[in-house]
């Protein structure tokens, strides 16, 4: 797959010195669904804004379809549809007028047949003559998508498409996104719901404090999820893992009060737990409690974000 968007060393510094993006590198592949996951204020919206042309980068470059977003903005913006986070719509305009307006704004000749087809696909056709103000919250979000799709973009950015949306609408949104992917549209969505990224993304990028921490195939992230830990709480703290148990892969945690054993449930083979437990008994290790633990995407995420925070504190000191 070729990269349709490449972001290199992108920095966005606001007046007053705040850096919303601190040298972001990101490659988005054509036809994929990429979920950008990050806490509030991580820079997700700023990154999207810089790619779409809403904010000017302070330094670094963004290329869309091989073109520079600043110098060749007409070419790059024509390829992109943007669904903003806020429901920003003309309250007294009809759905039909708004999608026709958006299409014209993106330099596409009127094509009512295309717009009709698109509105039908989004279940908005019977609402085409309704004004924004008469629509429900879920419909308003679909109108935003309809406007973004009105010029038939190759790339669609969805900024927090399901923020504050109920479960049923969220599933509907995911289906819409999946359908667009089938039509060949590259989709980038930001979210702070991990389950959303898990449900629809091909790849997941994690962004925090203006930096991309990782971009990984969802499946390999999920493989990490199949890692489980056996936690053995000890009656007396140990200085180190006993010699006799060195080959088991045990590690010490919690100041020597806990032994941790990692194993994989995905392989289908044995986990080695039975053997481990009998060896612990033979070794005379006295245990007070045993628990198993599965790391969730949430934990991987929190771990990365916190780890990054700790790194920065260290450098600051």
């Amino acid at each position: 797959m070729t990269d349709i968007v490449t972001v290199e060393k992108l920095v966005k510094r606001y007046k007053g010195g705040f850096e919303a993006l601190k040298g972001v590198d990101l490659a988005i592949r054509e036809g994929e669904i990429l979920a950008l996951l990050g806490p509030n204020g991580a820079g997700k919206t700023t990154l999207i804004s810089a790619i779409c042309g809403i904010t000017m980068p302070s330094s670094g470059s963004v290329r869309v379809g091989g073109k520079d977003v600043v110098k060749e903005y007409r070419d790059t913006r024509s390829m992109i549809g943007l669904v903003p986070q806020e429901v920003n719509l003309e309250l007294f305009e009809t759905v039909w007028n708004q999608v026709r307006f958006s299409r014209g704004l993106f330099d596409k000749a009127p094509d009512d047949a295309f717009l009709e087809e698109m509105l039908k696909g989004l279940s908005l056709w019977d609402k085409k003559d309704s004004k924004t103000i008469e629509l429900s919250g879920g419909m308003k979000r679909r109108v935003l998508i309809a406007k973004a799709l009105s010029h038939n973009p190759r790339i669609l950015f969805l900024d927090e498409p399901t923020a504050g949306v109920d479960v049923e609408l969220r599933r509907g949104m995911w289906e819409t996104v999946a359908e667009l992917k089938r039509q060949g549209v590259t989709i980038i969505l930001t979210t702070h719901y991990i389950e959303e990224a898990e449900a629809i993304a091909d790849r997941i990028g994690i962004i925090s404090a203006g930096k991309i921490l990782l971009v990984e195939e969802k499946d390999s992230l999920m493989a990490r999820l199949s890692q489980k830990e056996l936690r053995i709480e000890l009656a007396e703290p140990l200085d180190r893992v006993p010699e006799a148990l060195a080959d088991t892969g045990l590690t010490l945690a919690e100041d020597g009060r806990r032994l941790v054993y990692s194993y994989d449930t995905a392989g289908g083979g044995g986990t080695g737990i039975t053997a481990l437990l009998s060896r612990l008994k033979e070794g005379g290790v006295r245990m007070t409690d045993i628990s198993t633990h599965q790391s969730s995407l949430e934990e991987i995420f929190v771990d990365l974000v916190e780890h990054d925070g700790a790194d920065r504190q260290e450098t600051a000191q």
Binding site: C52, T55, Y73, S102, L105, F106, D107
Partner: protein, 253 residues
């Protein structure tokens, strides 16, 4: 050049005007009629001719200017302020349009509306006074230039304004006083010498004077000076808009 974008912006601005056409049409007709009743009939009958023109006819150019300047400014400022207010401006910023195309669409729409209102007021005045226009083409040219330059200024105000109060502040505090003190209802020669001098610092005075010349071939200042004044005003607005375009002032943070 993205003409389709200019077209959709222009048409949407015009659609807003025609949606409230009755209001857009009635307001200037009623207020003009009131001016004629008060100044033309009631007071005007006690005022002798001004520079050989009946007072009722004399105030027509000033009345048109008063409405046109106000309408052009408020239409253009509301036109661009509203997307900022509602948040729909994101679409203009992420679309393949240049700032110039956005200006053309909004200013074109606002200027057209102001021009139509100017013509409506002119038509209304024929009902009240005897009016002959000495230089119809010059009259139209002055009208168009005023519509365009004040729409440009309105656009700048709309970009600058951060709330509705600021939006109406400049028209209220600056434009209306300048028009009233710019000789809309009197000739500068009727003023004491000191006020005549002060009036010459009012840019609107030159516009009204030139516009009045197109009607009656009478003016406080030579028509060339009026033309130069409106050209300078337009140039200042254009330069300011070019600067906004270069810097992304208030738009692209």
């Amino acid at each position: 050049m993205n003409f389709l974008a200019v077209g959709v912006i222009y048409r949407r601005e015009m659609a807003r005007f025609f949606r409230t056409f009755l209001q857009s049409l009635l307001a200037p007709v009623i207020s003009t009629s009131l001016y004629f009743v008060v100044f033309g009939a009631a007071i005007g009958s006690r005022i002798e001719e001004v520079e050989g023109v009946s007072y009722g006819a004399f105030i027509v150019p000033g009345l048109i200017m008063l409405s046109v300047m106000g309408q052009a400014t408020s239409n253009a400022s509301f036109g661009i302020y509203f997307p900022k207010f509602s948040g729909t401006i994101y679409e203009f910023l992420s679309a393949p349009v240049s700032f110039l195309e956005v200006v053309l669409g909004f200013v074109g729409g606002a200027a057209t509306k102001a021009f139509i209102i100017g013509l409506i007021i002119l038509a209304t005045s024929f009902l009240f006074v005897d009016l002959t226009i000495a230089h119809p083409l010059a009259m139209l040219a002055f009208l168009v230039l005023t519509c365009v330059s004040f729409s440009l200024m309105g656009f700048i105000i709309g970009i600058w304004a951060e709330n509705f109060e600021q939006l109406s502040l400049i028209p209220l505090l600056i434009i209306t006083p300048l028009v009233f003190l710019g000789g809309a209802f009197y000739s500068a020669s009727m003023l004491p010498p000191l006020w005549q001098t002060i009036t010459h610092f009012n840019p609107v005075f030159y516009l009204i004077s030139g516009f009045r010349w197109a009607f009656f071939e009478q003016a406080d200042v030579p028509v060339a000076v009026s033309l130069a004044a409106i050209a300078a005003f337009t140039a200042i607005c254009l330069a300011f808009i070019w600067w906004i375009f270069r810097t992304g002032w208030k738009i692209r943070a």
